[in-house]
Subunit: 209 residues, 2 copies
């Protein structure tokens, strides 16, 4: 994953990236034009192609990487604070539900929308979305392993959690209610606790002990 540049806050390049993230969350990639990004980030239009010679697709990929890293950092702090993996999954889901509700159900995951909108020629966008999803999955798997969940099962539950989280976010947005996120968080917290108590393989065989 290309990590975001970390220039000073007033940096116009960074402002273009954070503005793109904000706009993608609300309206996706295709509905967001370079002109809107330039205008809302307060940068001179002439500098856009100086900073992003690859144009909107380059900025889009950087915005996805930036948002992916920001979410990863947030989840990492939550993983540290949580008393177990189940508590971590429930907290992450509830926090997303509250954030979505505060936005008036207008926000979405910029990584998810770009993953679905990216056309075959937009390889940089697809790769950035894939990398962000893979890093979140790795983080969740590590937190599950800390509770004693075996590696393969931890990986499997982590994939399920990231999938359910992304799907629940879009269901919550479409339905303007937090249920899907709360339900996914609760069910997966339960599943994580079960897996930590009684490790079993992905095929459901109970491990000895």
């Amino acid at each position: 994953m290309a990590h975001p540049k970390a220039p000073s806050d007033g940096d116009p390049r960074r402002r273009a990236v954070t503005t793109a993230v904000r706009l993608f969350r609300r309206q996706g990639f295709h509905a967001t034009g370079v002109a809107q990004i330039v205008e809302e980030s307060g940068s001179p239009r002439g500098s856009f192609y100086f900073y992003f010679p690859g144009g909107k697709e380059q900025l889009g990929a950087e915005a996805v990487a930036y948002a992916g890293a920001a979410i990863e950092a947030l989840w990492e702090r939550t993983a540290q604070d949580a008393r177990d993996a189940g508590d971590f999954l429930r907290r992450v889901s509830s926090a997303a539900a509250r954030w979505l509700e505060r936005s008036g159900w207008q926000e979405g995951c910029p990584v998810a929308v770009v993953a679905l909108e990216a056309t075959p020629d937009a390889e940089a966008l697809r790769a950035a979305a894939d990398a962000a999803l893979a890093r979140w999955t790795g983080l969740v798997a590590r937190r599950l392993r800390r509770d004693g969940v075996p590696a393969r099962r931890a990986r499997s539950l982590a994939v399920l959690f990231v999938a359910a989280f992304e799907g629940a976010l879009l269901m919550a947005r479409a339905g303007r209610r937090a249920d899907a996120l709360e339900v996914a968080g609760r069910e997966l917290a339960e599943l994580a606790r079960g897996a930590a108590r009684r490790p079993r393989t992905m095929r459901g065989r109970t491990a000895p002990g």
Copy 2:
């Protein structure tokens, strides 16, 4: 949910809807212009606003309803054929994985992409996506109940399944590999079987018996 009209196959109105579904699957709502829909459906441009006085948003909402009903019909057949709810969830996930792979990882769920792209002013799109997701959730919950899963738990697992299915589809597309769908299908099949064997409430208390 507004059910799709069912005119004859050669009907230009229907062709516009099915063409929109196909284009949304690949590139989403915003990247799909009326001109492209008209051209690829082979309809005279003049008739577009006759059939869809509400323009692209009206067509978009009908396309989402149409795709939602088609997927519902497919899932319903699979639910009938499956030997239990777990088998049903696994089959639905595997079938989606194979379909996505056959498309060269280019397809996506038209309901999901529209749910994420719909801006606040596109209320018809949001409502159509919400209705499709709600119908799929209801179908999955009914299949779980047939196996003896209590109503509340069936609802909870159905929400989790639809969320995981949508999220896994986008992960599979972004990663160009079927793992997420296969993993989600396997884990949720296991969970459904456990819930049918030993009904428990959403809060994890074991029910008597």
